[in-house]
């Protein structure tokens, strides 16, 4: 059961390529693999802790204020991540800029809190959040890596393509994000057919 839930997020119900959720950070921050990685880790942290908290207090939260409560909880964890980045990883904080606070409105997190954590036990919610978070992480990393390799000829900042390769600048621009995302979502659909 737990493994099945974990697999949902990692592959079958992949948040980016299958559910097409959280498109704003997906398209915007994946200009390099490192940015994708940092964003993915931040989302895993926020998603896991929000799900844990939401599923453990679900009994006390009245229906009519539940979304407000979820948003406050998510916002708290996001702000913690933001403070952590600013204190310990200033270059990443500068690169991700306003996208870290924007995790608050990332629909994957609110979506999982509403659709899963508020209806399931703490342990199951934990695995669901972890699966979705890891799925989001690898999605961002793959997207970021492809864009970085084609757009700059590097991966994680290391040069891997030979000098005669002319970087395709469009790949690090927004248009490249749409192209790569479309192609990857298409491949994913094909594989699942």
């Amino acid at each position: 059961m737990k493994l099945k839930i974990l697999k949902e997020g990692l592959w079958k119900n992949h948040p980016i390529f299958r559910q097409l959720l959280g498109m704003c950070p997906t398209l915007a921050v994946t200009t390099s693999s490192l940015n994708g990685l940092a964003m993915g880790l931040a989302v895993i942290f926020v998603l896991t802790f929000s799900s844990l908290v939401v599923s453990s207090i679900k009994r006390f939260v009245p229906q009519n204020v539940r979304i407000a409560v979820y948003t406050i909880i998510i916002a708290t964890f996001v702000t913690i991540v933001d403070i952590f980045f600013r204190a310990f990883l200033p270059p990443i904080s500068k690169a991700l800029g306003p996208y870290v606070p924007l995790i608050i409105v990332n629909c994957i997190i609110l979506g999982r809190c509403e659709a899963f954590a508020s209806r399931n036990s703490v342990i199951l919610s934990f695995f669901d959040a972890l699966g979705m978070g890891l799925g989001f992480l690898w999605g961002l990393f793959v997207l970021g890596s492809i864009r970085e390799i084609l757009g700059k000829g590097t991966i994680l900042g290391f040069k891997i393509l030979p000098d005669f390769y002319t970087p395709m600048v469009i790949m690090v621009l927004p248009a490249g994000a749409f192209l790569v995302l479309g192609i990857l979502a298409g491949i994913m659909n094909r594989l699942e057919k």
Binding site: A28, I57, R59, F60, V61, P62, Q63, N64, V65, A68, V69, I72, I73, A75, T76, T79, I80, I83, F84, R86, A87, F88, P90, G97, P98, Y99, P101, P174
Partner: protein, 183 residues
Amino acid sequence: MRENKFWSVLVLTLISSICGFSLAWVFSLAKDKIEENQKKSIKRAVYNLCSDCEKIEERAIQGKIIYCLYDKKNNLIGYGFCSDGQGYQEKIKVFFVVDKDMKKLKGIEIIESKETPGLGARINEDFFKNQFKNLSIKLPIKCVKHKPSEGEIQAITSATISSKAVVNIVNEGIKELKNLLGK
């Protein structure tokens, strides 16, 4: 689950206050580290903007820190100063360096900003910041929408508020710096 109004208000209040207090606690833990990082980025900005600077001396006047810049022979070559003000969304913190007579700006660096990505956030890009290099500051800097002449900055397309905010912050900062140094 209970469906009464009082209970809803109570839960919301309780959760908000718990979250608020825990954030305040986390922030107090990280505050020193964040300030240290800002100091580091200010130092880096100084060496970027003013390549002949060898030594930075911090001088506190009326609780404000002024960075006095010296060259190899220990001559004063300029001042650095941090100034902040309201941007489009959040406060923008700008660091700028002026020459020692305060006639020219040597350049600016955005230390902290949370402007709209793709629009206002472009104040962080070199094409905008470079306009401030060697700008005359005898008169306050103006923010214009056409091709800039002396003492003017061309605003970023569709980010006029952010561009104006930066110009105002720099102008205010220069005024303050002049007051503090008594010039």
